[in-house]
Symmetry: C2
Subunit: 240 residues, 2 copies
């Protein structure tokens, strides 16, 4: 059975303006690979409702899972929850279960649960909450869309919670062979190898170090023995 597929939707003007460097994409990519879920596409859109709604719809239809990051805080530019509801035609309001989490939290910290903070309890009907062990305000899953915070520590905790509930496929394995020759020297060999091992993915990533060219050849797949065979064959053909 092929692995489940996934897409990520990053929501935030701050990424597109270059103010903030996104950290969540790389993290999620690594976690999904370990869990045997194939990340097929990432989109980054701004805090713009029509853009978010359109992206959620198309990604939700195209892939088994969608993971979003960003836009679920208390301020006016945090519109993700309402956009997810709109994308699926779901009702959305302050929900009792989410409100209870915030009430308990703010009672403990002594801060006021004002209208702005209550926004973080706006959860679409039918969604399941995702626990936030860091700052309490929950994420949620609606259908196949998992809505998480953009703050990296919170995002990472929520990813761990969601992945524990998903049925993954076979983890993607990989081996890397470092070749101290330019990409152009080994391209023909790699091409033939890729044709022979059609079930594996063979990537070539050039680097330059101390003025010399080299490349890391990465062989990926779910069958460790096939990967071994391909890497062994490659090393032999390159005389390594």
């Amino acid at each position: 059975m092929p692995n489940p597929t996934a897409a990520m939707l990053v929501i935030g003007d701050e990424i597109l303006s270059g103010r903030t460097r996104d950290a969540n994409m790389h993290y999620l990519a690594g976690e999904l690979t370990k869990h045997g879920v194939d990340l097929k596409e990432v989109r980054v859109v701004s805090d713009d409702a029509p853009a978010i709604v359109a992206a959620v719809r198309i990604l939700s239809e195209s892939y088994d899972h969608v993971f979003t990051s960003g836009g679920i805080g208390p301020t006016h530019d945090d519109i993700t929850a309402d956009c997810i509801a709109e994308a699926f035609g779901a009702e959305i309001d302050v929900r009792a279960d989410a409100r209870a989490i915030l009430e308990e939290h703010y009672a403990r910290t002594g801060a006021e649960l004002n209208d702005a903070r209550l926004r973080m309890a706006r959860i679409p009907e039918g969604a399941e909450l995702i626990d936030n062990p860091v700052s309490r305000a929950p994420g949620f899953s609606l259908r196949n869309v998992h809505v998480m915070a953009g703050v990296p520590a919170v995002f990472q905790a929520m990813v761990a919670t969601v992945l524990a509930t998903l049925t993954g496929g076979q983890p993607l394995l990989s081996q890397t062979l470092r070749v101290d020759r330019g990409e152009g020297e080994i391209a023909a060999t790699l091409s033939a190898l890729a044709e022979k091992y059609g079930d594996l993915s063979i990537g070539c990533y050039p680097f330059q170090k101390d003025g010399a060219f080299g490349a890391n050849v990465v062989v990926r797949g779910t069958d460790g023995m096939r990967i071994d065979a391909a890497v062994t064959e490659l090393a032999r053909e390159l005389g390594l």
Copy 2:
């Protein structure tokens, strides 16, 4: 006149598998902001021809400019140039001008211009070459799509070349006000400010430091006096 819009398309399995952390998105976002071009969307897709072709078409139709990174090297997984040609129904083959650049380069370095390396001279008909001062193999622009290498040093050099030829809009200016209060404390004030200054974008980015909550409020726009006014008003309302 509104600023020109742009999208970025990052091509590469290595990003989606978590093996490599993309560095080009953050760089391009910052450069475009400085040049008054609004980056509206980023997509990351794998080394998969139908996915690349579809993304190029939709992004090219939707935005003034499209910048791609990755997939223009000599190996079998470098399929970007052929996909761009396919997206626009353009012919593609080894082109004399690109070939001349490679011949000169390899003659000088003593390496062989073999079939694999010649792939890097495959340029769609009608495209203009983008100079590569780092490793010579050129990028190209076809219609409103600028095709550049994924290696950060080369990508950055190519971005500089392309941006010099574009007519930008007004650079996006911004001011940041650091507020040592939780986001939820200031959300109502920000919301009223955002409504009053509809021509500005007001974002709120929370942080946690030494156990205390704070937020950076970023006011963005093209009119420096308006930004000054909004930030002054915000500081006064928050008693800063």
